[in-house]
């Protein structure tokens, strides 16, 4: 099962490697990991997408909680939540293909944010599955480069993760 674990962690040097090191040392999977400071400069928010049996996920959350720098965490995939990922994708856009790529980008609510006579950079946000679908829709030989931010997410409703 895929899980999205949101972590509030002290914004200190080495905090990221404590989390990353924990995953590698104990053999847990990381599908993606994002981290950035929050509105409180002393805290970073990290989102780890991982997978495993219920027992493994339980261990992952407990082991993360044991890290001294981890202030709080929540498995947001256990509740109603919103997840988003940002993708920047550079595609070859020549002659007749240019129109078609714009149409596809529109369908996926993508924005074209850079244009040259032979290429576009398209920005798409959404759930991982939507981004996967967009990549699959494009002709493979058109793709020059794909950059994805990894998933980040937030709970629906009033409840939030804060100190």
């Amino acid at each position: 099962m895929r899980h999205i674990i949101s972590i509030l962690i002290e914004n200190e040097s080495g905090a990221l490697s404590r989390v990353a090191g924990l995953f590698s040392a104990r053999g847990y999977n990381i599908e993606s990991l994002t981290v950035a400071p929050t509105e409180d400069a002393s805290l970073s928010r990290m989102t780890v997408v991982t997978s495993g049996s219920d027992e493994i996920i339980e261990q992952i959350t407990k082991q993360l909680n044991k890290l001294i720098d981890v202030v709080k965490l929540i498995d947001i995939s256990e509740s109603s939540h919103i997840e988003r990922e940002l993708m920047l994708i550079k595609v070859r856009a020549l002659d007749g293909a240019r129109e078609e790529i714009v149409r596809l980008a529109d369908i996926f609510r993508g924005k074209i944010i850079d244009v040259t006579p032979s290429s576009y950079v398209i920005e798409v946000t959404g759930e991982k599955s939507k981004l996967d679908a967009f990549v699959q829709t494009l002709p493979t030989d058109a793709i020059i480069e794909v950059v994805r931010s990894g998933t980040t997410g937030i709970l629906r409703g009033e409840r939030g993760l804060h100190v």
């Binding site: 080495g14 040392a25 027992e55 407990k62 909680n65 001294i68 202030v71």
Partner: protein, 576 residues
């Protein structure tokens, strides 16, 4: 008061009430060593290798419950300390390790004696810090002590760049009286309702078992555990780390469990219907084949670390909290309960346990003309009245010490259980002796392990820490040889030590007394003589039977009821 960083380090140790620090100087810590030189409150013990410093501090910590403190230099000083830090981490021992670091401006430049010790130790410390600002130094050291000693204890490393300790830069000093960390709340009281449920289950048990571990020792909960066990009249087993948590000479104690545990302990584990696990972590050496672990049991697990709960074995009633407090609450609930125990079932269970016990699974050949290692440990037990502090290294001798030295008190059995670090015993014994100068301290070791930290014999002389080194010398890395005999058709690949030093001469060269003992009849007199030499470290080199194996044994991948018994014991079971 304005102090330099170096003075702050020393003043913090004083304010923390630190008696001893174990260390080795070097470039990056010279300012600190200079500050140490100018005072007498904190006594520095100069080891001969940084691994020895961590083990000695560890032995001090295990035997006192106070944190052990280490001071080493950057680079190789720090990396040499890593094995000792990992040893303490695996057994949850409170250590504060201060490491020197190259000056802040050159960190990352591959400077002389630079190592990223914060990065290197990250997976084997409870927490670590790099101090980047001298005004944060005192607070950081306070945090290190606080984190190391609270909750589930563990080693904490503080990496201090040399420029932070510059004697010319003085800053106002005040040692924080207390410290709070928003992300760390270690004081836990067990959940009342869970304790109630546990009490009901315990009272309903027909074939109960208590299995307790190092958490009882670390949590100073031996008294509560003993009271609970007697109140319920349940059989109890200890893990290797938990020995001394319940008096080993008491009738309710069925011996250690696990790979080299007793037959009765392991069989009772296999057949029990209610298991109370206290401060134990279901380690693989204890559980054997995990799928067949306590197959018919409901399990209650008391532990301070939530991550220990259901890590390898699913438990039915978890109770997260400080072991002593939880046990006291549990006793109270049990005393108040109106529920009656099934006394008939319990008495039948004890009959069964006594039948298992009557096999005397730890028997060995007492008529041998060779010195049996078990006999040496038994004689040591008798000669010291069971009251010595016993450290050990790792291997066969460690198991024999655990099986044959019956620990009635907590904190007397000092060994590397989790990491299994050869070389631990001698430096640990020095730390123990410093903490308990009046007590008898013995290091049970083997000729392979002892050579891993043999240089600490010099430390033992310098600080006059008279310990008795009981070397069970069988010429092999005994446990390796045993596994090779059982699992590799006796292909003794590199487990034979061909050039064993003359330990008598070696001991004498280091200024100690050395004795070689070759016959069973000489064992007791030699031990008595060593004990008579109160102010001398004595190296007793026992030439033991090289073929002796540790029995019983659960071989890797087998379950509790599939024990391999000593040949003589097994033959009798066949007949019965």
């Amino acid at each position: 008061m304005d102090l330099s960083g170096a003075e702050i380090v020393v003043q913090c140790l004083k304010d923390e009430g630190v008696e001893y620090i174990f260390g080795y100087p070097g470039g990056a810590v010279l300012h600190i060593y200079d500050a140490l030189f100018k005072q007498d409150d904190v006594k520095h013990i100069l080891v001969r290798h940084e691994q020895g410093a961590t083990h000695a501090a560890d032995g001090y910590a295990r035997s006192t419950g106070k944190p052990g403190v280490v001071l080493v230099t950057s680079g190789p000083g720090a990396t040499n300390a890593v094995t000792g830090i990992a040893t303490a981490y695996m057994d949850s021992i409170p250590l504060v390790v201060l490491t020197g670091q190259v000056p802040l401006p050159v960190i990352g430049s591959d400077a002389f004696q630079e190592a990223d010790i914060v990065g290197i130790t990250r997976p084997c410390v409870k927490h670590n810090f790099l101090v980047k600002d001298v005004t944060k130094l005192a607070e950081t050291i306070k945090k290190a002590f606080y984190i190391a000693t609270t909750g589930r204890p563990g080693p904490v490393l503080v990496d201090i760049p040399k420029d932070i300790t510059d004697p010319r830069i003085k800053v106002p000093y005040e040692y924080p009286r207390s410290v709070s960390i928003r992300s760390y709340n270690p004081h836990l009281k067990g959940h009342r309702w869970q304790i109630k449920k546990a009490a009901d289950l315990l009272l309903s048990a027909r074939r109960p078992m208590i299995y307790s571990g190092g958490g009882v020792i670390l949590g100073n909960a031996a008294e509560q555990l003993t009271e609970l066990t007697r109140l319920l009249n349940f059989p109890i087993t200890n893990t290797l780390m938990g020995l001394g948590g319940y008096p080993a000479t008491d009738r309710q104690f069925v011996g250690m469990l696990g790979m080299h545990g007793t037959y009765e302990a392991n069989m009772a584990m296999h057949d029990c219907d209610v298991l109370l696990a206290v401060g134990a972590r279901f380690d693989d050496r204890v559980t054997g084949k995990i799928k067949e672990f306590c197959p018919g049991a409901k399990i209650i697990h008391i532990d301070i670390d939530p991550a220990s709960i259901s890590k390898t074995v699913r438990v039915d009633i978890p109770i997260v909290g400080e072991v002593g407090g939880v046990l006291a609450d549990l006793i109270e609930v049990l005393r108040a309960s109106e529920r009656q125990q099934d006394r008939d079932a319990l008495s039948a269970w004890w009959d069964q346990i006594d039948r298992w016990r009557s096999m005397e699974c730890l028997r060995y050949d007492r008529n041998s003309t060779l010195i049996k290692p078990q006999f040496v440990v038994e004689q040591l037990y008798e000669a010291t009245g069971g009251k010595a502090y016993v450290t050990s290294d790792v291997g066969q001798h460690q198991m024999w010490a655990a099986q044959f030295y019956h620990f009635d008190y907590p904190r007397r059995w000092i060994n590397s259980g989790g990491l299994g670090t050869m070389g631990f015993g001698l430096p640990a014994a020095i730390g123990v002796k410093l903490a308990h100068p009046e007590a008898e301290v013995a290091c049970i070791t083997g000729e392979a392990s002892i050579q891993m930290c043999i240089q600490e014999l010099a430390t033992a002389l310098q600080y006059r820490t008279p310990i008795k080194i009981v070397n069970l010398n069988n010429g092999y890395m005994g446990m390796v040889r045993q596994w090779q005999e059982f699992s590799y058709e006796s292909r003794y690949s590199h487990s034979y030590l061909e050039t064993i030093p003359d330990f008598v001469k070696l001991a004498e060269a280091y200024g100690h007394v050395g004795l070689r003992i070759e016959k069973p009849a000489e064992v007791r007199p030699a031990l008595e003589e060593a004990l008579r030499l109160k102010d001398r470290t004595v190296f007793l080199d026992f030439q033991t039977d090289p073929t002796e194996n540790v029995y019983p044994m659960i071989e890797a991948g087998k379950a509790h009821h599939e024990m391999r018994l000593a040949p003589g014991v097994a033959a009798e079971r066949e007949l019965a």
